[in-house]
């Protein structure tokens, strides 16, 4: 793993943290005061800051730092998370997301926005926190932590060990003044309890320069009275080092609270005097590091130890301390053995999830798709070759089929994800557009844990964003107007997800003005979409907004304008194999309902024959199937035919003719009619020659393997190995209308 891969992981993690942050803030916004919620929010920002620091992403670090400081005030109850405070924080979360994206993909962030927010955050941390003086003052943007600019060399060859050698000091040029530092060091027992070790501290002092050491063992009681937890030794050290007093202090950085420590520099000429008169006899002793260091240094240590008898004294002192420790550890070990056995079993409980590369899952799904096809082919050839009727092979095959289906479902479940992240993104969209339009909006999300295939989720964000913008921009009224109408000045947008009969239903409801039918109708007439005298039902008028180039806003606003309308939304939903419909009540708001397949990998289809070809019609589009009777068929115009079903007329569409499988229309009485739901809620009867059966098929993209074919959505491989095309029902219906909506609608009106 190299730095780039870790950076990639960092950005993935940022996305998760940002989602966590936003959902936490929204919970706080809803009045949740659980300390763990505040902690989670704080942690999210903290983690982003920590990682960003490691990669030298200064903008991100400095913004996260200010944000974190303010959050810390909330965490320590210095700042009450009121709605106003949370408004600033939610905006800050958005900016943090922008900064993260900018750090990943390049590009820039609206600097004035982040500067404004930094000021607001700082004001919150200072103004409303009386104890702010104690809290770390938020750094201004300019004062981003400077050291991180230099990228730490963490790559393979980057690690630089700290060289040290006893020889260094012998080479000091003569006459160069090197301070000598005297240290009185008496560890308390806490020092050992916290995992510090006197001998290691002595070792580190010895690395600074030439050291002499004296160990005071007077306090050591007889063995039977000795408490292994207690600290009995104290040391007097003297070291001559370039690094001086500060260098020595830094050695004791971790330990200074847990010992009596006196560090002072002595003048060179006084050393001898002091030592003679006040201090116990001390002479330079090369400190034996052989037990701590390996290799060359140990050899050097021993050599010197042999030359100097005083070393023996030190070694003895150390040995004593070691013995005491070993004894105490042995006692601990015995006690711990039983406890550790009991706890070992708990260790296995860790690790509930694993992370897998999406490519691997996709490959697995593809392979299972092949397996399903292969299993169907095998079944078919066994049935064809098996003349004896029932056999054990058949039973085995049935089991295989069941297993295959289960494997497929399980594999699909791996890729299923809750819609939560998309819904959360919508919260931001609502905030932004509410800000721009000056409307006050509350977004309520329900069923965000509803799961759907990841590929569907990925493609859901864009149409949803657009619809939400429309709902706030066009649907909701301005607060004053709402108040005048007796509504809550705060508009509500409700986003709901739920499962229904093998599909996911997503509803977007607003409590705004609803569709202005008069306006829509007039617009449609102006745009030549309908005849001026067309007689349309309310539902049909509402559905006009899905037609291309249709926009009811008087002026094209900055947000939902851009020439993109609901027709684009509808197309993207259809591209996902979904349907969208609208129902609206004037003065009460509109509800958009989207119905989407749970997966784009398999589909339940009806296998039909059309002019000798085998086609698959998605089952979800089919409302019912029927055998037409001659008396129910009515001719209309030159080539149009209608079928009367239960007192209503429905246009009859010959699939074979539309797809150019045959030149003339087939006789409807010879075939089967599939009643399908098409765009705009209207129904069509699709004529096919015969129904072969119903089965689950694996979707193979035509675009990826060949090219787009009008009227065909995709292809699949059937059990007998033949390729069958999957019908694009809406495209076929559209083609049957010949793009002439006007004629179509008048037809419907006739019916």
């Amino acid at each position: 793993m190299d730095m780039n891969e870790i950076k990639e992981i960092f950005f993935q993690e940022c996305e998760e943290q940002l989602a966590e942050l936003e959902s936490g803030l929204l919970k706080l916004n809803d009045g949740d005061r659980d300390p763990e919620t505040v902690n989670a929010v704080f942690r999210a920002v903290h983690s982003i800051k920590g990682g960003a620091g490691a990669f030298g992403l200064d903008d991100l670090v400095s913004f996260a730092h200010v944000f974190e400081t303010t959050l810390d005030c909330v965490r320590s109850n210095k700042l009450e998370p009121t709605q106003d405070v949370l408004k600033v924080m939610l905006k800050s979360a958005d900016v943090l997301a922008d900064l993260t994206n900018a750090a990943r993909d390049g590009g820039s962030v609206d600097e004035s926005r982040s500067r404004t927010l930094i000021r607001e955050l700082e004001a919150l941390a200072h103004g409303e926190a009386p104890a702010a003086a104690e809290a770390p003052a938020p750094k201004p943007v300019a004062a981003a932590p400077a050291p991180v600019v230099e990228k730490p060399p963490v790559n393979d060859e980057g690690f630089q060990p700290i060289p040290f050698s006893f020889g260094d000091f012998d080479d000091e040029p003569a006459g160069h003044y090197v301070p000598t530092v005297q240290i009185d060091f008496k560890p308390k027992k806490d020092l050992y309890a916290k995992g510090n070790e006197a001998v290691l501290l002595l070792r580190d002092v010895s690395r600074l320069g030439e050291m002499s050491v004296y160990c005071d063992m007077d306090a050591l009681p007889p063995l039977d009275k000795m408490n292994p937890e207690e600290a009995y030794f104290s040391w007097k050290l003297s070291v001559t080092t370039e690094k001086g007093e500060d260098g020595v202090r830094s050695v004791f950085e971790f330990a200074e609270w847990d010992c009596d420590l006196d560090i002072r520099t002595i003048e060179e000429d006084v050393v001898g005097e002091t030592a003679d008169e006040e201090e116990p006899p001390m002479q330079p002793v090369p400190f034996d590091l052989s037990m701590l260091d390996e290799g060359a240094s140990s050899a050097a240590g021993e050599e010197q130890a042999a030359e100097n008898p005083a070393a023996a004294a030190v070694a003895a002192a150390e040995t004593a301390s070691k013995v005491a420790q070993v004894a105490s550890r042995a006692a601990e070990n015995a006690k711990a053995a039983a406890a550790s056995a009991a706890q070992a079993s708990q260790a296995a409980a860790a690790g509930q999830t694993i992370r897998v590369d999406l490519d691997r899952v996709d490959r697995l799904i593809n392979l299972v798709g092949e397996l399903v096809i292969n299993q169907a082919m095998l079944s078919q050839s066994v049935v064809e070759n098996d003349n004896n009727g029932t056999s054990s092979i058949n039973m085995g095959l049935e089991e295989l089929q069941q297993l295959t289906r289960e494997i497929q479902d399980s594999v699909m479940a791996i890729r299923a994800q809750p819609v939560k992240p998309v819904f959360q993104r919508m919260a931001r969209t609502v905030r932004e557009i509410a800000d721009i339009t000056g409307k006050s909006v509350r977004l309520i999300t329900e069923g965000e844990n509803t799961e759907v295939d990841k590929t569907v989720i990925d493609k859901l964000a864009e149409p949803l964003t657009h619809m939400i913008r429309n709902a706030v921009d066009h649907g909701l009224e301005m607060p004053e107007k709402r108040e005048a109408l007796g509504k809550n000045p705060e508009g509500t947008v409700r986003l709901t997800a739920k499962h229904r009969s093998g599909r996911i239903i997503i509803e977007l409801a607003d409590d705004g003005a609803g569709i202005n039918r008069e306006k829509v109708r007039q617009k449609a007439i102006d745009n030549d979409l309908i005849a001026a005298d067309a007689n349309l039902s309310d539902e049909e008028i509402d559905n006009l907004i899905f037609h291309a180039g249709f926009s009811t806003a008087d002026k094209v606003s900055d947000l939902s304008g851009r020439g993109v309308g609901m027709d684009v939304v509808k197309r993207s939903i259809q591209a996902l194999g979904g349907r969208i419909s609208i129902s609206s009540k004037p003065g009460q708001g509109s509800v958009f309902t989207m119905s989407l397949p749970l997966t784009l990998a398999v589909l339940d289809g009806m296998v039909v024959t059309v002019a000798g070809q085998t086609l698959v019609v998605p089952l979800t589009a089919i409302v019912e199937t029927l055998q037409p009777e001659a008396s129910a068929i009515h001719s209309f115009g030159a080539s149009q035919r209608l079928i009367s079903i239960r007192n209503s007329f429905c246009p009859l569409v010959d699939v074979g003719r539309i797809l150019n499988f045959r030149g003339t229309q087939a006789n409807p009485v010879d075939g089967v009619a599939l009643l399908v739901e098409s765009e705009g809620g209207g129904q069509r009867a699709l004529m096919v020659d015969a129904i072969q059966g119903q089965r689950q098929v694996v979707i193979k993209s035509l675009e990826a393997n060949y090219t787009h074919v009008p009227g065909i959505a995709a292809a699949t491989i059937l059990g007998d190995g033949r390729v069958a095309l999957i019908l694009d029902v809406d495209a076929v219906v559209a083609a049957s209308r010949g793009q002439s909506l006007r004629q179509d609608i008048s037809l419907a009106a006739t019916g």
Partner: protein, 121 residues
């Protein structure tokens, strides 16, 4: 023999950086995602030194350190705290909980290894 380091941090990014840095420096590395997992892993890992974050879900660094210090078998292990806060208050709390020393994030490899060398034999 390789020194064994147990790192406890909820951030995947930091875990990976620690892993790379420590492995490159010749340490054996074991990792846990939070204090609770840290205490679980500790039982069988028998590390020479522990490096832990403070802000973590389930069980934070302070709680984790206290847990280690209460453990008869492992209470003497040196524990280094990874902290972005260099302010005295946080350090002090970590110390009271029983931390041996600390490393200020963002750490560079030298600082990290140096601190580990300081508290291990």
């Amino acid at each position: 023999m390789k020194k064994k380091v147990l790192t406890v941090d909820d951030s995947r990014t930091i875990r990976n950086m620690l892993l790379v840095t420590l492995n490159n420096a010749g340490f054996e590395t074991i990792q846990a995602e939070d204090g609770v997992e840290g205490l679980e892993v500790l039982e069988n890992a028998n590390p020479d030194v522990i490096v832990t974050d403070i802000n973590m879900p389930r069980l934070d660094g302070f709680g984790f350190i206290e847990g280690v210090r209460r453990n008869e078998k492992y209470r003497a292990i040196p524990i280094l705290v990874l902290t972005t806060e260099s302010d005295a208050e946080k350090k002090n709390r970590a110390r009271q909980a029983g931390a041996t020393g600390w490393i200020v994030k963002p750490f560079d490899p030298t600082k990290l290894i140096d601190a580990i060398e300081r508290v291990t034999a």
